[in-house]
Amino acid sequence: MIKKISVLFALLCLWEFAARVSGVPIYILPPPFLILKSLWNNQTLLAKHALISSFEILVGLLVSVFLGLLSALLLDHFVRLNLILRPVLLTLQSVPSFVLMPLLLLWCGFGLIPKLIVICLSCYFPITICLLDGLKRSPSSFGDMATVMGAKPKQVLWRIRLPSSLPFLMSGIRLAAIHAPLTVLAADWLGASSGLGYLVMLSHGRLQIDLMFACVVCITAMTFALNKGVNMLEKKLVFWPSASH
């Protein structure tokens, strides 16, 4: 950890030195100290927009987990529906969801709703597909054992197949957690009146590059915290080594 911090500090010092010595204007490349100053001076503004973005990401993720879980269970239960919809899901997954943003703005107006829909769309597919894979790959030997013990299909699903699919669900959530911040930023750029992406565009337009960099720092910290949270959740839920599964 100390090693990592030292490397980061050294890089920042190098940047500071290069920015000051090279004479590059601060509206092109502000030195780290100026960015730090901007972070401090605009802390209320940054916190407000960061909170909005974090809220959008978290709500989007939670709604996607719920919808993904529901869809995966339905598609797993109705095999024919799965056969029809799975290729559609895979195709839709490859479409960047924020391209729908202009259309959603037209339909739903500015505000939280279109952004939430776009985040949900980007998170929903990886969660659904990963969980479906997990349910499909759940060891049949566990199911056989449960059947011999007199379990009904519903009990096999809830007590055997779903817990054994947790590593897959977590992979889906991990992917979604990577997509969500990117989507929220893209959605902010395309049309929003709040959020870190909006603040990036605003500061860019006003040539406040130090504030723009301060936003980037906030986004990086937010993404880092999100990944850390997902890691912690995974460690809590999937605590067994994969070999024992």
Binding site: S141, F142, D144, M145, A146, T147, V148, M149, G150, A151, Q155, V156, R159, I160, P163, S164, L166, F239, W240, P241, S244, H245
Partner: protein
């Protein structure tokens, strides 16, 4: 199948005599096909009540398929007595997200019954794992995990226990220890053991079937000297009569071909 069949027909077809039907669980297995290739032919299987029956045969002949038929997982099997069954496999099939104690009571949990933790603890004590009830399976050794699987089997308290090479993945010492545990703890149960290990068969069995042919059929080993060995020496049989063991091994090996 006739409802009250008084006598068991000689399954080996060698004139080996007749026995009382009430001493056996009788299973009638229908023809079984895997992707339109015949695997098992229609046959009867008699498991000696409160005894160990072994089923041996070459790899791929259909031993596991036959066991799965008996467990109701493959094809169609009839039994007039309808004994309760449980199935123990080579891999312990412990749920990695459940503690040892929860794995032992998993049957009750899966059937939405009240979980009897007192009895589960008692059984864990019998297999020497009372101190490990709150451990997770990945924290146990292979032998201990198989003992938990044995405890889970005992918890089910079924008439018949089907075992598919349950000791195969273990080292020689652990295997012998676990065999002894199984003999002790499964006393009073009817066991069908599928195995490749001739030594295990001689050590544990009261009766031996060999599965052979294509489609396969289980044939009872009814040779006099093997029968005498199985009937006269109690299980688990010690290995002190090397000559007898060698003779039995050679004979059973010859039956494989």
């Amino acid at each position: 199948m006739a409802k009250a069949e008084p006598l068991e027909p000689d399954s080996a077809g060698t004139g080996g005599g007749i026995v009382k039907a009430s001493d056996f669980y009788h299973f009638e297995i229908e023809d079984f096909y895997y992707e339109s290739s015949p695997v098992l032919q229609k046959q009867s299987l008699y498991l000696k009540k409160q005894g160990w029956t072994s089923l041996i045969g070459l790899s791929g002949v259909g031993k596991t398929t036959l066991l799965r038929c008996l467990a109701g997982l493959n094809g169609k099997t009839l039994s007039s007595q309808k004994p309760s069954l449980c199935y123990m496999t080579q891999t312990d099939l412990l749920l990695p997200w459940a503690k040892v104690i929860d794995n032992v009571v998993i049957g009750q949990h899966l059937r939405d019954q009240t979980r009897d933790y007192d009895r589960a603890n008692e059984i864990l004590k019998r297999v020497g794992l009372e101190k490990f009830s709150s451990f997770y399976p990945h924290q146990l050794s292979l032998g201990m995990r198989q003992r938990v699987a044995l405890a889970r089997t005992l918890m089910e308290d079924t008439d018949v226990v089907l075992m598919d090479e349950p000791f195969a993945a273990l080292d020689a010492k652990t295997r012998q220890d676990l065999q002894d545990y199984a003999i002790q703890t499964l006393q009073g149960k009817t066991v069908l053991l599928v195995t490749h290990d001739i030594g295990e068969v001689i050590r544990l069995s009261n009766r031996i079937y060999i599965l052979k042919g294509n489609p396969a059929k289980a044939i009872l080993v009814d040779e006099d000297h093997i029968k005498n060995l199985l009937e006269q020496m109690p299980v688990p049989r010690a290995m002190n009569n090397a000559h007898l063991w060698q003779e039995a091994r050679c004979f059973l090996s010859s039956l494989y071909s």
